[in-house]
């Protein structure tokens, strides 16, 4: 017999009716179902059911995010050693990254799980695996310098206000990870914006070495007064390859466009992410940036003239497109509405980036904003669609 199975079988009686921890049955069930699928069978037709469950559906998103963690751990250490003027030894950088990222992930999961378990116990339903995706996404959007208590507070807000008060995964209308991220942005701007927060300095360090620019590419782009944005990036040390592979100070794992493309293709292939949203996003970005190109003149901000594809390459755009906009719960349900939803996110993100000096990156806020419009977009398409049906009402 599987030793893990033995542990569950020997402890089960504590959690079933009459047991000491009867109230925590849902926690027990959740942990057990991680290892062994439940034995429940169908009672009515169809007598067979598909092998896919929400656990695997969500796990595939986490699988797509794992490379971002590997990248994030490396990049945090890399930027830290660059800024601190330390030697760029690979394992030393990984160690620095691990020390920064692992505690944030542990805190996120621990706090998120406690909230979810609390609500599941009170509501007597099983723990939904959407939580694990939220907790995997959340740290990747944070600066590596975020204090752990703020991490705990942010994920609490995201889980409780973004999701649980509406009934849990599936009934939320906002993306919970972004809700938590936005909460931190507005509640603790000192720790979530500016130039300093994106780079972890070595212990004792107070300022980066002179050669190091802590500004994110988006901040550089926004600050460019003359010349071209690409030139400004080059001056700041951001070659196009660096931008594409995300080797610049930014949120922990969100900057690597390359991995986002891989992840998006993976999620589309397995059918977890809808290509309509992703294509809509990209079209929206390109359309808005192209439109701005038309208005670009020698006297206007050089940001207007930025090649539309560069908008997709820098900042959180690719990460947001691949993992945040494709959250099926907070996106619209109808296929057409999903195109519009994506398109609007792309458009608004570019507009906020270029015209709103308060937000170097706007995609997080824009996704939350469009989450609010998702039901309306659905309603419009649904009404049009239902009109075409030949009525069947007695």
């Amino acid at each position: 017999m599987n030793p893990v199975k033995h542990v569950f079988d020997s402890q089960r009686h504590h959690f079933t009716k009459g047991g000491r921890f009867e109230k925590f049955y849902f926690v027990f069930e959740n942990i057990e179902s991680v290892f062994f699928a439940p034995a429940a069978v169908t009672s009515t037709g169809p007598h067979v059911r598909d092998s896919l469950d929400v656990k695997r559906f969500m796990f595939l998103v986490i699988a797509a995010l794992l490379p971002h963690y590997a990248f994030g751990i490396f990049n945090v250490g890399y930027q830290s050693n660059l800024a601190s003027g330390l030697p760029l030894d690979f394992w030393a950088m990984v160690w620095v990254g691990l020390k920064a990222v692992v505690p944030m992930v542990v805190v996120t999961y621990a706090v998120g799980y406690v909230w979810e378990a609390l609500f599941a116990t009170v509501r007597k339903h099983e723990i939904s695996e959407g939580l694990f995706v939220t907790c995997a996404l959340f740290p990747l959007t944070l600066p590596p310098t975020q204090p752990l208590w703020q991490v705990a507070l942010g994920i609490s807000f995201g889980i409780v206000i973004g999701k649980e008060i509406f009934g849990g995964t599936g009934r939320n209308f906002l993306n919970p990870a972004l809700t938590g991220r936005a909460f931190l942005y507005f509640a603790y701007p000192a720790q979530t914006s500016g130039e300093a927060v994106w780079t972890l300095l070595a212990a004792g360090g107070t300022a980066a070495v002179d050669a190091f620019s802590g500004a994110t590419p988006l901040a550089v782009a926004q600050a460019t007064d003359s010349g071209s944005v690409v030139q400004a990036w080059a001056d700041a040390g951001y070659s196009l390859a660096k931008l594409f592979f995300g080797l610049y100070p930014d949120a922990i794992g969100a900057s690597c466009t390359f991995l986002c493309i891989v992840g998006a293709l993976f999620l589309i292939t397995v059918g977890v992410a809808d290509y309509r949203i992703i294509c809509g996003d990209i079209l929206g970005f390109l359309a808005a940036a192209t439109l701005l190109n038309l208005f670009a003149s020698p006297t206007s901000s050089p940001y207007l003239g930025l090649n539309p594809f560069y908008h997709l390459m820098v900042g959180g755009a690719a990460f947001g497109i691949a993992y945040m906009t494709t959250d099926p719960v907070s996106a619209p349900a109808m296929p057409g509405a999903r195109w519009v939803y994506g398109f609007m996110i792309g458009m608004l993100t570019v507009l906020i980036r270029v015209f709103n000096p308060a937000f170097p990156e706007g995609i997080g806020i824009v996704i939350l904003f469009m989450n609010c419009f998702a039901p309306l977009l659905d309603e419009i398409q649904l009404t049009a669609r239902l009109k075409k049906r030949i009525p069947n009402v007695q």
């Binding site: 199975k5 069978v41 037709g45 067979v48 896919l52 099983e126 977890v272 049906r389 009525p391 069947n392």
Partner: protein, 450 residues
């Protein structure tokens, strides 16, 4: 002939245990029964008692709501048991067969009579012979209302639901009977019945030429008259079309031609737990034990009367009902899953989705069981159910409308177009019982209307 109707949606379950196209004659069972427990809408009123002598075709019970819905004895002998379920609902009336069975004699209709006989008289004969329930009215599929002429009658010769008898097997040598039955239906409707068959089941069947009005191509449930109606209707007047299954047309034809209640039936035994999946020729209302004896695997097996999607679990001592032409046997599967199965690639795990490696390995049949494969969760809008729905309902939104008590909204979504195929429940990763929710809402609406 009209060009084939193509269905893009639907889904073919890759289930193992498909019955071979061979027909085995079963020996005469000791007893047969008229099953009431799995009849929808019918409120049975018993017409016999234990110990009564009955002939083939004697009235056993009728519907309290509608006298024309009668259920007659599929065998001659003695009523040996009348089984009741909870709240004294009639389950089945069991008749132990005599060696020499006696028959109720009904009026015969010859080929020539059929030209001159009136529609009212024809309806009377079918009702009197106890076969009126076989003619069903969409969208609820209760027995048709004889007082109204239908906008159309759909006759579907095959059923893609795993696993139903193939037309090439049950029609073998009975083409004349089918032709006669179709003429009867033509008289009932006042216009030719629309006969449909799926292209894969029509290949090589020369005799179908001139009979079939519409070939359909597509996945389950492309055969379904409700799907055909949805795809072809031009106005809502057609919603109340009638439908009859191919084998049931043969029963009606036999009743009128011979003047005796027909008792023969071709059924299938299939499914992963069937060791000898095949077609079986047996009696109407045959005991399940006679069908499965020596032909299914030992162990914890569920017997489903009807198909995998729409059938009902039947106790082992039960019998096949009037409408049930298939017995599917499935392993119960009530054991915990394999260790950490949800992270494995799943090269042999069957799925509608593309989340397992099996989806990229081409076709193949899988021995599925009745395990639910996951815990109940809230809808996550994966959009699988609208992808498979054959009548373009958005099942997840309709389900939410039903849960919110918005019946009007659910109706606008096409609740009554639903053919209850069960694909939405099959593919749902949250394991929501969409079919049950939609079916309950439909039944409730029907009962409130009538």
């Amino acid at each position: 002939m009209i060009p084939p109707l193509h269905h893009i949606k639907g889904y073919n379950l890759k289930l193992s245990g498909k019955p071979l196209p061979v027909l085995e004659d079963l020996p005469l069972p000791r007893q047969v029964a008229a099953v009431a427990s799995r009849l929808r809408f019918v409120k049975p009123r018993l017409a016999v008692n234990v110990g009564d002598r009955v002939k083939v075709g004697s009235l056993l019970f009728a519907d309290k709501r509608r006298p024309e819905v009668q259920f007659r004895s599929p065998g001659g002998g003695t009523v040996s048991a009348v089984n009741f379920g909870p709240r004294r609902r009639l389950q089945e009336v069991v008749v132990t067969l005599d060696v020499e069975e006696a028959y109720e004699e009904f009026p015969r209709v010859s080929d020539a009579d059929l030209e001159s006989i009136g529609r009212e008289r024809l309806i009377e004969l079918v009702i009197g012979g106890g076969l009126w329930p076989l003619i069903r009215e969409l969208p609820f599929r209760d027995a048709a209302r004889p007082e109204t002429a239908p906008p159309a009658i759909f006759v579907y010769l095959d059923n893609l639901e795993p696993f139903h008898p193939l037309p090439r097997v049950y029609l073998d040598g009975r083409w004349d009977l089918l032709a006669f039955g179709l003429r009867v239906l033509d008289r009932l409707a006042g216009k030719p019945a629309v006969v449909t068959v799926c292209r894969e089941n029509a290949e090589g069947l020369e005799s179908l030429n001139g009979v079939v009005g519409q070939t359909v191509v597509g996945n389950y449930p492309a055969h379904d008259p409700g799907v055909l109606l949805y795809r072809t209707k031009t106005s809502s007047d057609q919603n109340h079309s009638w439908s009859v299954e191919g084998q049931d047309v043969l029963l009606i034809a036999e009743l009128l031609q011979t003047g005796r209640f027909p008792t023969g039936r071709v059924v299938t035994l299939g499914g992963p737990a069937a060791t000898q999946p095949r077609h079986l020729r047996t009696r109407l209302g045959a005991p399940l034990t006679a069908l499965v004896a020596g032909r299914i695997a030992a162990g914890n097996v569920r017997q489903v009367a009807g198909g995998v999607f729409t059938g009902t679990p039947a106790p082992q001592d039960s019998h096949l009902g009037l409408f049930e032409k298939a017995l599917v046997v499935l392993p119960e599967g009530n054991a915990p899953g394999d260790f950490l199965a949800w992270v494995l690639p799943g090269a042999r795990t069957p799925s509608y989705s593309r989340t397992f490696l099996s989806s990229f390995r081409g076709r193949g049949e899988h021995p599925m069981d009745c395990n639910r494969h996951g815990g109940l969760r809230a809808c996550i809008q994966c959009n699988f159910c609208p992808q498979v729905c054959p009548v373009d309902i958005l099942p997840q939104l309709t389900y939410k409308a039903i849960r919110a008590g918005e019946v009007e909204e659910a109706l606008a979504h096409g609740l009554l177009d639903c053919v209850e195929c069960g694909l939405c429940s099959l593919v749902c990763p949250s394991k929501i019982d969409l079919l049950q929710a939609l079916r309950d809402a439909r039944e409730k609406f029907y009962e409130e209307m009538s």
